[in-house]
Amino acid sequence: MEHSTMISTNDAPPVKRPPKELSTAVVRFAGDSGDGMQVVGDRFSDSSAIAGHDICTFPDYPAEIRAPVGTLPGVSAFQIHFGGNEVMTPGDEPNALVAMNPAALKMNLPDLAPKGLLVVNTSQFTEGNLKKARYETSPLDDPALDANYQVIRVDLSGLTETALKDSGLKRADKVRCKNFFALGMIYWTYDRSLESTLEWINAKWASKPQVAQANGDVLKAGYYFGETSELIGDRYTVQRAKIPKGLYRKISGNEALAIGLVAASHCSQIDIVYGSYPITPASDILKYLSAYKNYNVKTVQAEDEIAAIGVALGASFAGALGVTGTSGPGLCLKSEALGFAVMTELPLVVVNVQRGGPSTGLPTKVEQADLLQAMFGRNGESPVAIVAASSPSDCFDTAIEAARIALTYNTPVILMSDSYIAMGSEPWRIPSVNDLDEIHVRHVLPTKPRKVYERDEDTLARQLAIPGTPQLEHQIGGLEKNEEGSVSYDPDNHERMVGLRIAKVERIARTLPPTEIMGNPQGKVLVLGWGSTRGAIISAVKRLQEQGSSVSCVHLRYLNPLPQDLGEILSRFKTVLMPEMNMGQLNMMIRSRYLIDTVSYTRVRGRPFLIRDLVDRIETLL
């Protein structure tokens, strides 16, 4: 019987090998700016989170919106690290790379782990595209490629077109779906359910069912291609993370920051006025906040960076909390107004989403080289509080903290973020509204005459009287004033006021929580960091601690004032190593403040630290 022959032992289908188990994995999608790499990266992140993995993502795209198709500057990539352990960085090297064209291959192949999975879209390896990517011969013909990696050559464009032959779409529209074919293959490789992505596709193109259907079909086609073609040798299941009970979402740094500001408004019952001028990578904060008009938030897209901070500070004078957001070049322009905020002692939050500098520098790449500018970039003795966020979700807490300091001490606060955490995302355990601490704000009531620079005894904050309050009319401005609020050029008064402004910012340290040390409270090496290097530093330190090394780390949120207990903590370690994505700026501050011989480890490559680089550097000190 025909049936029996089909199932005869001779013809039996090969027994599927069970998937290999991994603790974590790193996948990178790379292609042309128009290939939809950020879209599939986002989808992969979401489905990873829903599958119970911890994740960390790293979108990496060019500053040009659409560089010429197929060229090296036009390559856009998205890397995601997911797994069962705590995932704190986007991963040092991808285990799997999808390269949609020769340029993407050229830019990204050097990062791929040895024996890593490489999926290439052969249909784009034409003579013209090879030339654009500055390949003389096709790298796909190089035997070394197959010797070093697990290469899967797929005609993604052709297969996508075939899958959609009955869809009724135009050819160009069919080919545009090829990113989902690649995503489907990777889903199969990592034993991932398609369900949440199909739901997303249907919701995204709800008004265009034909497009939704096509993208969904292509996703499935890619998945089944992986299953049936047997080109992909190994499949993997990646461990799930042990996640505490609760509600979670995926969040990027910029969105967390925007929501954090709204939460600060809720906690303080003070309205937010956000003035900003579009600048990469801070623009999205304005995008988010402008959609929150029903949350006591008003936004202004100002005519320039100076107007943006002017609107914010004016709003603070009128009783709101003014906030302005920018990146390094914009912070330069805001300097004078920031000094004015110091002088008038009004609450203000300035968000600086740092990027590579100086000048226009590397607009879409990461660096943390604006710290000394934040500290000192104004005329005169002009102290401001500085806080730094260390991960995408930490932007939420840091925003509330910045607002708390600004409103409690009536001082400008600079909040340092950077492009890596602003654009990157991670799962976030959604906090309960009831767990947020109140920010206590009390303006002067029209009860008695008061001095314009009368101060709270605890905080040294100037007490604010808000325009519109009867009997409290007064004038403030950039000229030095005495306590009564009159212009004063008296030498004693100036010296006293300079001292008071500095002392006020120093007072903030009294309300800071004790500094957390990860690891032993004393030992050979302490790694001291700030900002977005946290994930890489903690991962490296943990790895070494597991090997029994005497290394601990401290990560600073408060940069000015520094925590009161920091000096004592530093003194307990033989060596203090300070990794920074600048040429040693916090290092300079720490050395001058505590007179200790710290070791600076600097990188200014426009990319986050790799864990292995940090491990290597720390090992030289052990």
């Binding site: 996640i243 008003k298 004016g314």
Partner: protein, 545 residues
């Protein structure tokens, strides 16, 4: 009991109210003095509470203006006054915001901001003092200085083509544009009042004299001997006529304005242009701004006052309102959760959630669902009374014991006097201790009455009385209405409103007596709204849904 007198109507404002106790430090003879005193006279006439004025300036001589006005003032940084003013207006649209600037501050370093303020039509008044010179930096040429103007930084004469402030304003789509002169306070007052009435940005150029660095900047048109022939007073609906003999005027020849004299070449008055400040097309007013002495008489007055363009802040508030209408007042819990999120349970099982409507069934009590609770669902579970309290949280405060208010804002240990103490002693006590109500005790230390300032006013001031010999018993309010500290604040309000008095003794658990006034209660409510102890959010006061 002291009856509550009718509330005196708010005293009328006078110019004096706006004069602060400081020395004005402009040079003697500076044109700024006349502008300052005109503003001080105009402000009281505008019907705006004094505390609602905010004067914002940048840097320059004119920018010291806020220090010389007894209003809220913000002396900011060079050229940026419009930005701060806009932030102030956005944060509190009820404020009347005035920007004081000069030709350097407003048209050089700050021209960009001025342009954007004008195009947005923010409801802010801008007074630009134009003296064609940098005064505070000691006499360098400014963007309105004439070609050839010799100054320390242009020893061979300026080669910078000057800008015409009003032309600049109109090219930025200004909806109100006017010019006035420091030597004519009456004219200034009229123009300032028109500016104040305008809804939107009002831009006023003031021809102002700098007595030190550019004395006589405008005398070629403003001097008493020539002004009738060289100034053209614009009046809405009236022909463009000027001259000592009122026989000169402006008429059009093709697309060009020309000067014509009545009687010459058969010119009659009806050939002259008739001023229309409301012309929606700004070409006509732009033409006027381009006319200057010596080619033309220099026009003064309101060039353009076009109503109907909705001011920026109104549009912003409208967007806020309509967003609230469409999506409801934002609840932080919703925002934190976002459009899609997932739940991890005790067994590390994950389930996706989206913002689709929640099932009506209620499984958990509201207290446990905290920040992400569905408030609508919770509301449905409550009784009507509970719902009202949630909707109007001040009701909750009214239900609190009056003891809370006494402790926080009232007088815990009021001064007390014996019935035999003299009226004089009580009056001295009022004065020395800054109190306005005291208790009167009998020989057993039981309270038998109170004396308030009103008692003194009504019963002492009017009568001829020997204060030293008259006992306080004679003027006290005997057996005043008294509440225990466990009574509700609502009841206290009720007593105040029925009895029409302003002070009430409150008996505490330990039998001691404190005093609370209507003012204390108001402050207590204000505190409760602002410090949220016990969660009365300020926003909820405004919730009228």
């Amino acid at each position: 009991m002291t009856p509550l007198a009718t509330v005196p109507s708010k005293p009328t404002q006078t110019a004096k109210d706006y004069v602060p106790d400081v020395d004005v430090r402009w040079c003697p003879g500076c044109g700024d003095y006349a502008i300052l005193s005109t503003i001080q006279k105009v402000f009281p006439t505008l019907g705006i509470p004094k505390e609602n004025f905010v004067i914002v300036s940048g840097i320059g001589c004119s920018s010291r203006f806020p220090y010389y006005m007894n209003t809220y003032g913000f002396h900011s940084i060079h050229g940026r006054a419009p930005t701060f003013a806009m932030g102030i207006k956005i944060a509190n649209p009820d404020l009347s915001v005035w920007v004081i600037t000069g030709d350097g501050d407003g048209l050089s370093i700050g021209a960009n901001h001025l342009m954007h303020l004008l195009r947005r039509n923010v409801d802010i008044k801008v007074l630009l003092f134009n003296n064609q010179i940098y005064g505070l930096t000691k006499g360098q040429y400014s963007p309105t200085s004439h070609i050839g103007h010799k100054t320390p930084t242009s020893p061979d004469g300026s080669i910078d083509h000057p800008i015409k402030p009003l032309s600049f304003a109109l090219s930025a789509e200004a909806s109100f544009v006017a010019r006035t002169l420091d030597s004519n306070p009456k004219h200034m007052a009229e123009v300032f009042k028109a500016a104040a009435r305008h809804r939107g940005t009002a831009f006023v150029e003031i021809m102002q004299n700098c007595v030190i660095y550019h004395d006589g900047a405008w005398t070629d048109v403003t001097d008493r001997s020539v002004r009738d022939d060289r100034l053209l007073h614009l009046e809405h609906g009236k022909p463009l006529i000027y001259g000592k003999n009122r026989n000169m005027g402006i008429r059009m020849e093709g697309t060009t304005p020309v000067i014509a004299k009545i009687g010459e070449n058969a010119v009659t008055e009806d050939q002259f242009l008739v001023h229309d400040q409301q012309d929606p097309n700004s070409a006509y007013s732009y033409m006027l701004t381009q006319m200057n002495y010596p080619d033309f008489p220099t026009p003064v007055g309101v060039f353009r006052a076009v109503e109907g363009r909705v001011p920026y802040t109104d549009l912003l508030i409208e967007q806020v309102k309509s967003t609230i209408q469409q999506r409801g007042r934002g609840r932080l819990g919703d925002l934190l959760r976002g459009p899609s999120y997932w739940e991890v349970d005790d067994n590390n099982q994950i389930s996706m959630k989206t913002d689709s409507p929640k099932p009506a069934a209620v499984t958990a009590p509201p207290a446990q669902t905290d920040g992400v609770e569905d408030e609508m669902r919770v509301m449905a579970e409550l009784t009507e009374a509970e719902r009202r309290v949630r909707k109007y949280p001040l009701l909750k405060v009214l239900g609190e014991p009056i003891g809370n208010a006494l402790e926080s804002r009232g007088t815990m240990n009021p001064l007390n006097f014996s019935v035999t103490d003299s009226v004089e002693q009580v009056i001295c006590a009022f004065k020395d201790n800054h109190v306005n109500c005291i208790l009167v005790l009998d020989e057993k230390d039981e309270m038998v009455g109170i004396v308030s300032e009103r008692d003194v006013v009504m019963k002492v001031a009017r009568k001829s009385m020997d204060r030293k010999s008259t006992p306080v018993e004679a003027i006290m309010t005997p057996n005043p209405v008294l509440l225990n500290d466990t009574a509700t604040i609502g009841l206290a309000f009720n007593k105040f409103s029925i009895g029409r008095f302003r002070h009430m003794p409150i008996r505490r658990q330990d039998n001691s007596v404190g005093l609370i006034s209507t003012t204390d209660l108001l402050f207590y409510l204000y505190d409760r709204v602002h410090d949220r102890k016990g969660s009365v959010p300020a926003g909820s006061l405004l919730d009228d849904e």
